[in-house]
Amino acid sequence: MIPPTPSPLLDRRTAIQWMLTAAATLTVRDHSALAAETPGATASARLPAKGYGPDPSMVKFYLPGDVWPLTFTESQRRTATALCDVIMPADETSPAASTVGVPAFMDEWVSSPYPGQKADRALILEGLDWIEAEAQKRFKTSFADLQAAQHIAICDDISQAQPKPEFKKAASFFKRYRDLTAGGYYTTPEGMKDIGYRGNIPQATFDGPPIEALRHVGLA
């Protein structure tokens, strides 16, 4: 609804403050509301498996499982988590994928009722089961419990441009899983920071590029 009367004057500083307060309030409100709705991790499984519809609340903050139930079994979740971290491990400057919730995002993705994601569902669920079976076959150990070198032994076989015939299917799973992990990672605040995104912050002025950036491309 359009408010019938104009709201009082908003100068830029007030506006910025107002926006930030609004954002902060939303975090608190939504997370406490969510906590009330989902007393246990399994509660989300009771939600109906449909999309968010053409008119969802855009300002709310969503977590995987809020809109449709998640799918991974305990074993798939363990495998998925380990594989995410093989793909995006912690290093000197940024955390591992599992630290920033990428495995839960993967679960949300494959559980989605939309056609784009449904196509990934079989590939990923079967792929996780395959990689777990492969770990058992090669090392008699769960994929999640393998040593780094053992993870790499399996992943190297399925990350080749020309994989051996027996790894063809696993390779298409790995490529897709890698892309989704990277996307899931770089869309988090930690991932954004790591990749070098410095925006989404209101400022009183836009001052253009710093002199070092201009120098870098021969403009100063």
């Binding site: 609804m1 359009i2 408010p3 019938p4 009367t5 104009p6 908003l10 830029r12 926006m19 609004a22 954002a23 999309g51 968010y52 053409p54 008119d55 969802p56 855009m58 300002v59 903050f61 969503y62 093989v86 793909i87 995002f105 949300e108 939309y114 056609p115 784009g116 790499i152 992943c155 990350s159 080749q160 441009a161 790995f174 890698r178 990277a182 996307g183 899931g184 770089y186 869309t187 954004m192 790591d194 990749i195 070098g196 995104y197 925006g199 989404n200 912050i201 400022q203 009183a204 836009f206 001052d207 253009g208 590029p209 710093p210 070092e212 950036a213 870098h216 491309v217 021969g218 403009l219």
Partner: protein, 603 residues
């Protein structure tokens, strides 16, 4: 007078407007500020840009990282609700079977229409764009010239707030002195393109966008826009003071709670409501324009979507601003014994001559940007610069094989990452397999922000093979007959796209870009399908001959003199400029004429 329900509508209004987007918003503003009593029907629900838009949310706070889904076809946080290429219960058809003969139709069903998520690029049509037949020997001359519209461009720009710079370009007109807000500084990628584009005989200049870079001048502008009307001046001054300039963060497609950019509600409908002269009835899907025995429009029959019931509202004049093709559909569905071919269609031209911007794009990796010192490149949530069309001389010699031209829009730099941010890194690194682990993170840091892509948007003149009609069978969920589109590219568009691809390739090469495959040489593979650019206009074109056009120069239908069009339907062609600023300028001009006619008692 406020946002109302069907039961609250008054018996009769001076003017009924259908649609609350750019054209409807501008018309309602102009009329109500001058005291005309208006009812606006809007098919979508009320929407509050102040509390409902997600300016700062991250993709990780949306389902599926905000990716597109059939429910939200431009992504979760995009300011489009109940809207899309496909809307359940609101079908349309395509007559052509081949991919290149298809038209795609984006519809926005919410208060404010598409102005909630448009790109806010506001370029003026130039003198040639109004006279394509004289200039190129093709298409139709508009019955008006640039000089007729220029004062209205100034007025709309002052009202909505547009940043940009005057560049003295041929056929890409300057604004009058004092009208534009200062252009924001260019980003490093934009400056880099500006420096090197001349090697490809192109230039990069500041773009014009409906984004406020500084506060609006609430002391001076209201008197310029509403001379001799103190009430309007004071309402407008309040409205201007309530808007904040851009705070250089957040994507404008998500909407702007601080009202720094233009959308219809924030800029047009707020002051219009404050006059007390406007009622807005949301959830009202217009079905038909009703007429009396004398052939004058009497009002609109609509479906109240909250109850499913039919209603009728009356006015002395009717203005259609439902978006060009939706308004055409209304005309074609308004059949009576007086108007068996649909309303205002004695020429048989209703639905004919639809055009869209002619578009293709191409991008490259920029090694020069690797290792760039990190900094905040958000700026005004969209482009600060563009490549205007400058090859008029070649065109005059007929050397290009197409009329008009195209401009290039581009994005560079470090925008907020999305799910596709890491695509293509294996290729860039020259690795044949799928990189993972620490190496992947290093690749990402190295290659992110190094893509530069250009998208062309060009002239399209009307042709006989591109039109819409009522489908004989298809109906929407309320039983309203749906449209069927016919689409045909001519050699003009195909030659233009060939040229676009070649020139973008040359430009990227001049900038030191690296691409794995060359630009597309098959124009049918490169061209974006009809409607895809969402600049579709035409279908009720203006002209000076009633037998060959639907409206006169005032967007007033020849056949029904109290029936007006205020969206893109009266456009006689698409320029190499985005259409919305022109839609608003023509709507303001139309509304002034409508008021004159009401005053004179001609309507």
């Amino acid at each position: 007078m406020p946002v109302i329900t069907s039961a609250q509508a008054q018996d009769s209004y001076d003017v009924i407007i259908v649609g609350s987007g750019a054209g409807g918003g501008q018309t309602a503003y102009t009329l109500t500020m001058e005291g005309v009593k208006v009812l606006m029907l809007e098919a979508g629900r009320s929407f509050d840009p102040l509390t409902e838009v997600a300016m700062f949310q991250l993709p990780s706070q949306a389902p599926l990282r905000g990716e597109k889904t059939p429910d939200k076809q431009y992504g979760f946080h995009d300011c489009s609700i109940n809207s899309g290429w496909d809307i359940p219960g609101e079908p349309y058809a395509n007559a052509g079977k081949k991919p290149e003969d298809q038209f795609r139709w984006w519809r926005q069903r919410m208060m404010g229409g598409r102005t909630n998520h448009w790109g806010r690029i506001t370029l003026r049509n130039g003198p040639y764009d109004f006279k394509p037949y004289t200039q190129y020997g093709a298409g139709f001359d508009w019955p008006i010239s640039y000089d007729d519209v220029a004062p209205y461009y100034d007025k709309v720009e002052m009202l909505i707030g547009v940043f940009g710079s005057n560049e003295g370009l041929e056929n890409s007109p300057d604004s009058s002195p004092g009208v534009l807000m200062p252009a924001p500084k260019l980003r490093v990628g934009e400056l880099y393109a500006q420096k090197h584009a001349p090697k490809a005989d192109m230039k990069v200049v500041s773009i014009h966008r409906a984004v406020m870079s500084v506060p609006q001048d609430a002391e001076k502008l209201p008197a310029k826009l509403h001379p001799g009307n103190p009430k309007a001046q004071s309402i407008l001054a309040d409205s201007m003071r309530s808007r904040s300039p851009c705070f250089w963060a957040t994507d404008c497609h998500r909407g702007c709670s601080i009202r720094a950019n233009y959308d219809s509600q924030t800029v047009h409908l707020r002051p219009a409501l404050a006059t007390g002269n406007l009622d807005i009835l949301p959830n009202a899907m217009a079905r038909e324009v009703t007429v009396n025995k004398e052939g004058k429009a009497t009002g609109i029959t609509y479906i109240d979507k909250t109850t499913g019931k039919e209603g009728h509202v009356s006015g002395r004049a009717v203005v259609l601003a439902a978006s060009s093709q939706e308004s055409v559909r209304l005309l074609l569905n308004s059949k009576s014994s007086l108007f068996p071919q649909g309303l205002a269609n004695s020429s048989g031209k209703v639905g004919k001559y639809i055009t869209d911007s002619v578009s293709s794009s191409f991008s490259a990796h920029m090694p020069a940007f690797e290792g760039m010192p990190l900094h905040n490149e958000d700026g005004a949530g969209g482009p600060h610069a563009y490549v205007p069309w400058t090859q008029h001389e070649q065109n005059r010699k007929g050397a290009l094989g197409f009329p008009g031209g195209y401009h290039l829009e581009f994005t560079s730099g470090r925008q907020m990452p999305s799910m596709t941010v890491a695509n293509g890194f294996d290729n860039l690194a020259g690795r044949s397999g799928v990189t993972y682990g620490r190496q992947l993170k290093e690749d990402a840091r190295r290659y992110y922000g190094c893509r530069l892509g250009f998208g062309a948007q060009g002239t399209m003149l009307p042709n006989e093979g591109t039109f819409c009609e009522i489908d004989p069978d298809l109906k929407d969920q309320w039983g309203i007959p749906a449209l069927r589109f016919h689409w045909k590219w001519t050699d003009h568009e195909l030659n233009q796209v060939r040229h676009q691809q070649k020139r973008i390739g040359e430009l990227l090469t001049a900038l030191g870009g690296k691409f794995t495959k060359p630009p597309e040489t098959d124009p049918l593979k490169a061209i974006r399908s009809g409607g895809s650019v969402i600049h579709e206009v035409g279908g009720a074109i203006m002209g000076d001959d009633p037998s060959r056009s639907v409206t006169n120069q005032w967007s007033q239908t020849w056949d029904v003199k109290n029936l007006f069009m205020a969206d893109g339907a009266p456009f006689a062609s698409t320029a190499d400029k985005n259409p919305t600023l022109t839609i608003m300028a023509l709507a303001w001009r139309m509304a002034d004429h409508l008021m004159e006619e009401l005053k004179k008692g001609n309507i």
